[in-house]
Amino acid sequence: MERSTEQPKTRSVPIEEVEQVVIRFAGDSGDGMQLTGSQFTHTSAVIGNDISTLPDYPAEIRAPAGSLPGVSSFQIHFGSTDVQTPGDQPDVLVAMNPAALKVHLPDLSRNARVLVNTDAFTPQNLKKALYESNPLEDGSLADFQVVKIPITTLNARALKESALPKKQLDRCKNFWALGLLYWLYDRPLEPTLDWIRAHFAGRAEIAEANAAALKAGFVYGEVGEVFTTHYKVRKASIEPGVYRKVSGNDALVLGCVAASLLADTPLLYASYPITPASDVLHGLARYKHVGVRTVQSEDEIAAMGIALGAAYAGNLGVTGTSGPGLALKGEMLGLAVMTELPVVVLDIQRAGPSTGLPTKTEQSDLLLGLFGRSGDSPVVVLAPATPADCFAIAIEAFRIAVKYMVPVVVLSDGYLGNGAEPWKLPRAADLPKIDVRHPNDPKGFLPYLRDPTTLARPWAIPGTPGFEHRIGGIEKADKSGNVNYDPANHQLMTELRLRKVEGIADDIPEAAVEGPLRGDLLLLTWGSTYGAVSQAAKKARAMGRSVGHVHLRHLNPFPRNLGDLLRGYEKVLVPENNTGQLRFLIRSRYLVDASGMNKVSGQPFKIREVLAKIEEFI
């Protein structure tokens, strides 16, 4: 490891091995906490730890510096085993100012370690954080292991030789803190030094200052005599391969791009910006070289119409939004149902109802996705389980849409969308092919003549001679697709649309159980609750409980074996971030007396909350 020349003598601090650690970096929006967090993440990943992360931004664009609403944080969970969530509670909180301390303290358990930048605890900052007295002095932190470090001062001292103005130097203090944490958890500096070099290429002074700050923080750990021990987290036993950190939104973007290549069909993404879905638009806008067209439309209805028009014209048509936008798309999605076109709708759910809590997560659009249209209008509904799973789900959505000529709704959420995890990159050759067929023999062509197995109608696209035909939202005659007001035909077409979607159950994997196939309790989940519930169930089993876990990625239709699985357990519990939407579906479909665990606080489940509920239930 390269060391700065000024490096003082090292003292020897004992090193202890731990399995898992959760760190939360918190500071003002201007303090660079997101960067700090993602550097720590990257380094941890590179050295082979299992990781999971969760950023938390303020709702305001730029709240006043030092204020409570201005606090920004980044949590990372890393370990040698079983990291599937960003962690229930931080073991270490790094608080760069009083507001950060105030906002995050309630999340800590007794004895958690709190690293504070004492320099920031000025009367002015304390006031902005609405502290009446200085928590570092009034004894209110007695339950925690507080480590007080004048980070600003130490950072300034380390950079005293830099020619940069004071203000700029101060902005390096997040690297100083990062260096200290690297020392504390025995991480190499290289990956971050590499990043600094690349990122500040051409701005040598800034690069140097940041590098120096990083190193200074590291060295401080070694010689500063504030820590009596430091920690080591072994490599996890991770499948070999090339990895990359992805958020759910990144993975959706890559999944869409991959689908386009796998289908050999251009993709058109139409969207109106909305938190937390906008990043999908931003991401896809960067794939023009793959032939991806993105249209930022005037509203969500337009986005749905544009995606539908693109699908009609033979593209992979897709739109993305969050809850309020999905509500707006209902009527147009109904048209997609009637015209049986392969369009995909991504909903990155946020906490509702109405504007709700736009930056917080929830899973409360399930029933909207299933039923938010007039008439009986079945669509396919899928949900990714983890950030990386968003990639596979996007491909699955297009596979089904195109094969069955049916709209598909994908329910991700803010927690998946913004949270990140390492993703083992698949090889293109191993990905499912998406088999796009357009009819080529005009003889006997009828726009609603169905494939006998899939019940799909032919995808005949404008521009192809001999297939000129008209479609629309009025009920269509079976086969010919002409406008038809005949009662029996409407009954038939309604049933056909339903049967087509139900039939897809034969073309999706059966639901799998983690844990025993029969037992006392089954946990049934969908979407982003996967990680926490899976871990909780595992822990419960480790404690001797007979607990199975089934996670659904296909919500309409359900896997064929779901009913049988549910009946294998004494009790069924459905933890959800809503007031009980999947539970509602399951009870109706299988007449199983499922109970709910319903958290609607805009926050994901913690493992221990689920564990406690399991204990309560068994």
Partner: protein, 336 residues
């Protein structure tokens, strides 16, 4: 899909097998007939035409055209058309809409489609009434009009569709009337050939719910004026009247007594200042003749041209695509 095939197309190639279901005497028939007459002459093969409509009497139009067609939902035809045209710029995409469909529920999509200069044609059948829902006032109905939903008279001021299109930065804005079929055909052909959004308002008589809405315009010799590019604006019996500018506003003058054509406003379709097209489009009875013809026709890059250009450039800059390489573009690491 050779261009040759189109050479032999005739009117009846554009007639579908569906029975036309408008009220006898409805102005929609004439517009359909003129469209079917004009298209064969454009030189685009039939399979490249797509007619997209919303909901309303007018919006049944696509069923009667033997081309690709999409009868979408109320007010949203421009959105579906945007998807189609952006996905495949080679198609000739025609939006058929009504005064309710296009300007009531669908006004916003119309605005944005026009301002983007998406290369589509927009035919707005203006009968100043909701036909399909059996006679409520529309955004173009006159103030005070009594309908089923306004028994004491409408309290909404009407909007002028062509003014709206000009304000939306339309590159081609025109007006025609169902009853003047020759002029209508000319305008449709001009629209068909325009690159960029071609917006055409067509006065259309609804014989059932608003019969004679345009009588005041058609009955009198001086009820209308036909705009001709590069010519002074003359109208009336024996071309005895003209439009002149006065203090920036427009006025009607009688020719003779020292007032000649040279004093009149000369119409320029490509006038850079759209304010003049705006003024001409807003002329209305009483006091003014209603102008028919092309208010504005200018060329500027279309939406789809710019989209394609960016794709071309991105491809050029980033070279050919390989999925494996593409997935590995981020910060990756290897676990062995």
């Amino acid at each position: 899909m050779s261009e040759d095939r189109s050479a032999v197309l005739s009117r009846k190639d554009f007639v579908s097998d569906q029975e036309v279901r408008w009220c006898p005497g409805c102005g929609d028939y004439s517009i359909l007939a003129q469209t079917q007459k004009v298209l064969p002459s454009i030189g685009i093969p039939r399979e490249k035409y797509v007619f997209v409509s919303g909901i309303g009497c007018s919006s049944r139009f696509p069923y009667y055209m033997n081309t690709y067609g999409f009868h979408t939902i109320h007010g949203r035809a421009p959105t579906v058309a945007t998807g189609i045209k952006t996905a495949n710029p080679e198609l000739s995409v025609w939006i058929v809409t009504g005064d309710g469909d296009g300007l009531s529920i669908g006004g916003n999509h119309l605005l944005h489609t026009i301002r983007r200069n998406l290369g589509v044609k927009i035919l707005l059948f203006n009968n100043r009434i909701y036909g399909l829902t059996k006679g409520q006032y529309s955004p173009t109905s006159e103030l005070g009009m009594r309908t089923r939903s306004s028994p004491m008279g409408s309290v909404d001021y009407p909007v002028h569709p062509c003014c709206f299109a000009v304000a939306a930065e339309g590159t081609f804005v025109a007006r025609a009337i169902d009853s003047d079929t020759k002029h209508l055909a000319m305008v449709l052909e001009r629209a068909a050939r325009h690159e960029g959004t071609a917006f055409v308002e067509i006065y259309q008589n609804c014989v059932i719910f608003n019969d004679g809405a345009f009588d005041s315009v058609t009955e009198r010799d001086d009820g209308t004026v036909h705009l001709v590019d590069g010519e002074p604006i003359v109208f009336g019996t024996n071309r005895g009247k003209g439009i002149r500018r006065k203090d920036g506003a427009l006025e009607v003058v009688t020719l003779g007594n020292g007032v000649g054509e040279k004093d009149l406003l000369v119409h320029r379709e490509d006038e850079p200042d759209p304010g003049i097209a705006f003024q001409l489009a807003r002329m209305d009875a009483p006091g003014f003749p209603v102008a028919l013809g092309v208010f504005r026709s200018v060329r500027r890059p279309t939406y789809e041209e710019m989209v394609e250009e960016q794709i071309r450039r991105a491809r050029e800059e980033k070279g050919p695509v390989d999925l494996d390489a593409l997935l590995r573009e981020g910060e990756c690491w290897e676990i062995k």
